[in-house]
């Protein structure tokens, strides 16, 4: 693919983001502007901003890549990300807004009036935020690398700089404009190419996507390997090219027999049209027919894993710090509900697109199954399906959209992290404290991208969801709907759910795989968090915060009653 247009698109998005941010700066003056945009954001603006912020790298490139490699089981990611908002709407949205707090730790304090609960919530919010920010930066590196061949750290640094500059200059007000702009940019960037992709597929004869054969190279294809790759060959294939296969130097034509083969980094191998595509060893064997069906229990992605994923995404959304902070920018609880409803619709429209990329990728860019760069399917596909300048422009559009995804999610995370850092760690509640915190908030994950190796984007995001669902979700749901939760119970529940989820996830990531109960812990850590929080609370009734009824009035009574209990900041 041509990189020139792609680079122009990425730069245009970066510059456009700065410009929109600068426009926001002109209207951003007070501390309240910085933290919550002075709570004057209308439902449509706010919903666009939430959509822009929520549709991260995982949504824009990750889901299509997962579907491309693993089939319809991965559709549970977009379904879960959307259903998470439905749960949020039904259980949390309006009371959370009415709590009148700025950040999640503020909610913890408003509800429980306890420094301990607040401290645990702060640590969890920071941890989850950083877990989520890390894959965004890595994803940006991957995108720039796919476009230009630049080293991975360039993209991460570019995102970090643009976002930090924006957040420092304008805070929440400016970010709200940026995020709203980026939702529509992302939707355009993923939807417009889909129209052309489907038209081109029809024009090419609408080949069957679910035939009983293996994916085949649609034309003579040069496959470049950036890293040492272990591939599995299901049908013997003749190739030529230069590189090293199974430790032997290759120069010229050779047969790759059935079985596992190691291909060295730097190899460039050319495969003939019509040959069955070898697959990276970690991707399961599937003909297009078996790929298109949900797997049955016991094969690779068992039923337990599906349910764990469902629990983590359905309940984890409400615990993500950058999602929660957005609700505070609504003018009242009623607007918070309406905003969430609009977000549901916006997410639904967006998530119609990635599966189409994943499915068409099997026909047009199957070599990604061999290199394992499945996350690149969205980026590469338009240029491969649509010929000539049109394909290049569509490719550039997608690249710009992907970059917008990294920028907006990172911005949202940075605002929420900086909010927590400045209020709970630095204890400086002014604009300067917010700016210092922003820099701190980005330096940690940026450092982590150098420390940890390449971790699949979806795994890190999945871990963040699992931890959020097991710790902050019980805090929010039980805290809002039950008057019996005690401070001891709240702390115990958050730790009992969050710590095992985090440890299990980190063990899996550092070991590079392993037991499914550890890799997808949500199915047991979430019930654990809820049960421990409630049972410990029942055992410590004297630790129930004294003003709980007063707080409940504030959380639940409609604002138009003019209750004095609801007078707030």
């Amino acid at each position: 693919m041509s990189s020139t247009y792609g680079i122009i698109a990425v730069l245009a998005v970066a510059v456009g983001t700065m410009l929109v941010g600068a426009y926001g700066l002109r209207v951003s003056r007070t501390t309240s502007d910085f933290f919550v945009a002075s709570r004057t954001v209308s439902p449509w603006w706010n919903a666009s901003a939430i959509g822009g912020e929520y549709l991260s790298a995982a949504s824009f490139v990750g889901i299509a890549g997962l579907i491309f490699a693993h089939g319809p089981d991965m559709l549970w990611f977009p379904v879960g990300y959307t259903a998470g908002y439905l749960v949020l709407l039904a259980l949390v949205a309006a009371p959370l807004r009415r709590s009148g707090a700025y950040t999640l730790p503020d909610f913890a304090e408003a509800r429980f009036g306890s420094a301990a609960v607040r401290a645990v919530a702060s640590v969890l919010a920071l941890g989850i935020g950083w877990l989520y920010l890390l894959p965004q930066l890595q994803g940006a590196g991957l995108t720039l690398h796919t476009l230009t061949g630049a080293p991975d750290w360039v993209g991460a640094l570019l995102v970090a700089v643009v976002v930090t500059a924006n957040v420092i200059s304008g805070g929440m007000r400016s970010i709200t404009f940026v995020q709203a702009f980026q939702y529509w940019l992302k939707l355009t960037a993923i939807a417009v190419p889909v129209v052309f992709l489907v038209m081109a597929w029809q024009a090419h004869g609408a080949r069957d996507l679910t035939g009983p054969e293996l994916p085949v190279f649609p034309r003579d294809t040069t496959v470049s390997f950036d890293t040492d790759t272990s591939v599995h060959v299901d049908r013997p294939v003749v190739f030529h090219g230069a590189g090293a296969v199974d430790g032997l130097r290759v120069n010229g034509a050779r047969v790759l027999e059935e079985g596992d083969h190691a291909i060295a980094a730097g190899s460039r191998l050319v495969f003939p049209e019509g040959a069955a595509v070898p697959r990276m060893s970690s991707i399961p064997f599937n003909t297009n027919e078996t790929w298109a069906l949900p797997t049955r229990d016991g094969e690779g992605f068992p039923l337990y894993a599906v349910y764990s994923l469902i629990i983590a995404t359905f309940l984890g959304t409400m615990g993500l710090p950058h999602v929660i902070v957005r609700f505070y920018t609504n003018p009242n609880g009623r607007a918070a509900r309406r905003t969430t409803l609009i977000v549901l619709a916006m997410l639904g429209v967006f998530y119609l697109m990635p599966p189409i990329y994943g499915a068409l990728g099997r026909l047009y860019v199957p070599e990604l199954l061999m290199t394992g760069d499945t996350d690149a399917v969205v980026l590469v596909l338009p240029g491969r399906v649509v010929d000539g300048l049109g394909g290049q422009l569509l490719g550039a559009l997608v690249a710009g959209g992907a970059f917008a995804a990294f920028l907006s999610t990172s911005s949202g995370l940075m605002v929420s992290l900086a909010g927590v850092l400045s209020r709970d760690v630095l204890r400086q509640r002014d604009v300067r404290g917010f700016r210092v915190s922003t820099v701190l908030a980005v330096l940690v994950p940026l450092g982590m991208t150098w420390l940890v190796g390449k971790v699949p984007v979806a795994d890190m995001v999945g871990l963040a969801f699992a931890v959020a669902a097991s710790s902050l979700c019980p805090l929010l749901v039980l805290g809002i709907w039950s008057t019996r939760v005690s401070t001891v119970g709240a702390v115990a529940g958050m730790l009992a759910g969050g710590v095992p989820a985090l440890v299990a996830g980190l063990v899996t990531i550092s070991a590079g795989g392993g037991n499914v109960f550890l890799a997808r812990p949500a199915a047991w850590t979430v019930p654990l968090g809820f049960v421990v929080m409630y049972v410990v609370s029942l055992m410590t009734p004297r630790k129930v915060p004294p003003g709980v009824n007063h707080v409940m009035v504030r959380l639940h009574a409609p604002e138009n009653l003019g209750l004095r209990s609801q007078d707030r900041l």
Binding site: P72, G348, V349, L561
Partner: protein, 134 residues
Amino acid sequence: MTTPERPPGAQPPPTQRVVVTSPRTRAPRAPRPYPASREIDEQSDLGAVYMRSLIRTQRRLGLLLCAVVCGSVAGLPLVFALAPAVAAQRLFGLPLPWLLLGGLVFPVFVGAGWFYVRQAERGEREFAELVERS
């Protein structure tokens, strides 16, 4: 007002004069010594009863919605696993799992959300009327 029973086919009774009374709206209404909003504010037992009823209604609505919608969606993997023939069905040329998970669930979510917002706002409106009327 109840209508007295009369045999079918009988003539309607002659119209009657009814005295309609109304409060003299010009005159200030005697203020209730304790409006409900004040009961709520002052954390009296009565106020707590009001709030508990609101919270219970809203909690039931939210949990019911989550249970019905998320529960039925979350039942799909089990259906696909237990009855692979269902998963292999095709509708409009698309395999059923793709059609359901890739498209149809989203309008269902939005519809459920719309229903919830309507019901939740109705609950709050009724609560507000109850409090203001008393």
